[in-house]
């Protein structure tokens, strides 16, 4: 394998591009030191940009969402491999899909949603669509519009879902949160928390109507074709980041974290199955 001449890191996330650059700048520096080649950060606007970069070999590493990893894997199993996953402060590497509704609409759980309108975010989002779309039918809430729910709408994104629920455009919506902290703060991190902090909604006005099984956090992936020593060095760097530079680790994990722990492809087998299932459903 020939040695690499540069190393490109793709950065995803719900932050704006400038903040992402800033909070990952330290990682870039460390990586440059460790690998001895120029390292650059790229902040495409959506999942797809990063995934295409990884598939095409223009990006060498990135933290993906679980569904995003599944997509990359399904498109080309030989493209990337998961190496690390970020953990929460309690050591878990999970987050949740959360169903919300307005408190004054007398909806306390999915059972009250019969004949009502449910809002999803982006159909490509793990927590905003994929997981609930698979789990809800298992719990007896059919996903066919008109069967259990009156209709199912895509609002376009987590923020939009929350606003839609608040405005009453949909009766209930699904978004994500880390499940830690308190409901009234919108949990410790996630779309709800952001919306609350921005003053878009007041948690007093919302109730939680559903919570998914834990969803695995997306992995840090590296390109399979990279030389083994590069993979090793970079993995070791990120794994040890929490001890080396806590601030930096927080920045890379975009929030408080217990650090990164190793992960293997198997951890995402379920998500990949779910995604395949969803595809077949679409095909029919």
């Amino acid at each position: 394998q020939e040695p690499i001449t540069r190393f490109n890191i793709g950065v995803l996330g719900g932050e704006n591009a400038q903040d992402r650059m800033t909070s990952n700048e330290c990682l870039r520096k460390y990586a440059e030191e460790a690998l001895g080649v120029p390292v650059k950060l790229f902040t495409p606007a959506d999942y797809d940009g990063v995934i295409q970069g990884l598939l095409g070999g223009t990006l060498d590493a990135a933290i993906l969402g679980a569904s995003g990893y599944a997509k990359a894997y399904l498109t080309d199993p030989e493209a990337v491999e998961p190496v690390l996953v970020k953990t929460n402060l309690d050591g878990a590497a999970n987050y949740f899909s959360i169903g919300i509704a307005r408190k004054d609409h007398a909806i306390a759980s999915m059972d009250d949603m019969k004949g009502k309108v449910l809002g999803f975010g982006d159909p490509n989002s793990t927590s905003g669509y994929l997981i609930p779309a698979v789990e809800l039918p298992k719990q007896g809430y059919s996903m066919k519009p008109g069967e259990y729910f009156k209709d199912i709408k895509f609002t376009g994104g987590h923020e939009q879902t929350i606003v839609a629920v608040k405005n009453g455009d949909v009766d209930g919506g699904v978004t994500w949160a880390d499940g830690l902290g308190n409901w009234e703060d919108g949990y410790n991190s996630g779309a709800l928390r952001k919306a609350v902090d921005a003053g878009l909604v007041d948690m007093n006005d919302l109730v939680q109507i559903w919570k998914s099984e834990p969803i695995p956090e997306g992995p840090l992936v590296v390109r399979k074709a990279l030389p083994a020593d590069v993979k090793e060095k970079f993995t070791a760097l990120v794994a040890g980041l929490i001890d080396k530079d806590k601030e930096c680790a927080y920045g890379v994990a975009s929030g408080e974290t217990g650090g990164f722990k190793p992960v293997a492809h198997d951890a995402y087998a379920t998500i990949i199955e779910v995604r395949k299932l969803e595809e077949q459903k679409k095909a029919n």
């Binding site: 490109n8 797809d48 295409q52 095409g56 003053g199 007041d202 007093n204």
Partner: protein
């Protein structure tokens, strides 16, 4: 004035034919003049129904618009107390870690008490007092409300909360003029809205922060070096350029990247399209098949929007301005191919024949008889597209490429820094207007066309 013209209609008329013709003419005009607006209105009405105008109007969140407009020109200072660890309340701009005030920088309306409590004065004479143990007292219009964090929620005793208060046993939000106060068991947070784009010039880390304009001017020319070793004026420039909140340097780069994408895409497309256009022009390519292939090729390139090309190309070229440039290049090759081949078809054949009669070869004929005729068309189209592509490059960047569009769209979607959104919009508008003006000037200069 009495009409002296003897106007006696029909009987005196020599022939009814002209009158009938005139009536018909007017009737025809009436039909057209009435039908057009009616059709348009009918269509718009249909669209209003299809788009559910009434529903949208009902659901429109004008308060969001007000928030947004307000955020365009104002910023919020957060005073936050983490109730868990009982830490000292922090004061920061927009709650940003990089924009936390040092104790000596804190605004005058925040008063620290020696015991670790803090008093915050809000607009309209309202106040919040937070004691060292986290118990807070909110004073609104002279009435005091006490709220204290508890293990499982918050404690307060407010019978019949006023309309501006949204209270439950876990969370209390007070929306006050120019301020918002939130209590939960985890934290107590006060947001106070201030006019302006705070930290626009210098961030809190800069020694120039908080100085008045005359003071800065004085420092620029004379006075002690605030950062030893660097002249003040240079230090100011650096601090501005590297502003940690507004990132002027990066924004400028992003803006430049956007213009770069437009420039490379447009000009590259011109270079590629020119030779291909000959293949699509009937007077240069007699072979029908070649011509049709070239034309359909142009249609294809043009029909697929630049944005979709960006997606298609992002696999090969990854994120960055290259993908965006190539996407613009592909689409515009289609547009230019069509436009140039039309220009080629309209060239005057006489000069070409003139050159042919002297024994000039095909290359020389194209260079000297064809190019001078189409170069004004080419130039003006290139410049015209350059301006409009600057705008498209923003959109492309917003979706995959990079540049100012990315910053803008993300700033909008994360719904946090509306003043940054306003900043980007102003920048984009200025740059596009500048390109518009510049391309007009260049056109006028190079082709002698009316600007």
């Amino acid at each position: 004035m009495t009409p002296q013209i003897p106007v006696t209609p029909a009987p005196a008329l020599p022939a009814p034919a002209p009158l009938d013709a005139a009536r018909r003419a007017i009737a025809r005009q009436r039909r057209i003049a009435l039908a057009l607006p009616v059709l348009l209105l009918a269509y718009l009405f249909h669209a209003a129904i299809a788009f559910d105008l009434a529903g949208v109007a009902g659901r429109a969140r004008w308060d969001n618009a007000v928030t947004l407009m307000g955020d365009f020109w104002s910023y919020k200072v957060h005073v936050t107390r983490q109730n868990r660890d009982g830490a000292r309340p922090e004061v920061s701009i927009e709650g940003m870690r990089q924009a936390r005030f040092a104790p000596d920088q804190e605004p005058g309306w925040v008063t620290r008490r020696p015991d670790g409590g803090v008093d915050v004065a809000l607009p309209a004479g309202n106040e919040v007092h937070i004691a060292a143990d986290g118990a807070a007292r909110l004073v609104v219009d002279g009435t005091a409300y006490d709220v204290a964090p508890r293990g499982d929620g918050i404690a307060f005793d407010i019978p019949g909360p006023p309309a501006w208060m949204n209270a439950s046993d876990r969370r209390l939000t007070a929306t006050l003029p120019g301020a918002r106060v939130t209590f939960t068991r985890a934290r107590t947070e006060i947001l106070r809205r201030q006019a302006g784009w705070e930290l626009f010039f210098f961030d809190l880390q800069s020694p120039f922060y908080g100085r008045s304009l005359p003071e800065l001017a004085r420092l620029a020319v004379a006075g002690p070096q605030l950062r030893p070793g660097t002249p003040n004026i240079a230090a100011m420039g650096q601090d501005f350029w590297r502003n940690g909140i507004w990132h002027h340097g990066d924004v400028a780069w992003a803006m430049f990247e956007t213009v770069l994408m437009a420039f490379l895409g447009t000009m590259g497309a011109g270079l590629v399209a020119l030779p291909l256009a000959f293949l699509a022009a009937s007077n240069f390519t007699p072979a029908r098949l070649v011509r049709q292939v070239a034309r359909r090729g142009f249609d294809f390139l043009r029909g697929v929007d630049a944005l979709i090309w960006t997606i298609v190309l992002s696999r090969a070229f990854g994120p960055g301005p290259l993908t965006g440039s190539l996407a613009i290049l592909l689409t515009d090759t289609g547009s230019f191919g069509k436009l140039f081949s039309e220009a080629l078809e309209n060239v005057d054949g006489k000069p070409i024949e003139g050159l042919r009669s002297t024994g000039a070869g095909a290359l020389a004929r194209n260079r000297w008889a064809v190019m001078p005729q189409i170069s004004p068309v080419i130039l003006s189209q290139l410049l015209y597209f350059l301006e409009s592509n600057t705008r498209s490059a923003t959109v492309i960047g917003a979706i995959t490429g990079g540049g100012i569009g990315l910053l803008l769209v993300q700033a909008i979607q994360t719904q946090k820094d509306w003043e940054h959104v306003a900043y980007y919009i102003v920048l984009i508008v200025l740059v596009v207007m500048l390109m518009d003006w510049l391309s007009g000037r260049l056109r006028a200069r190079l082709i002698g066309e009316r600007a």
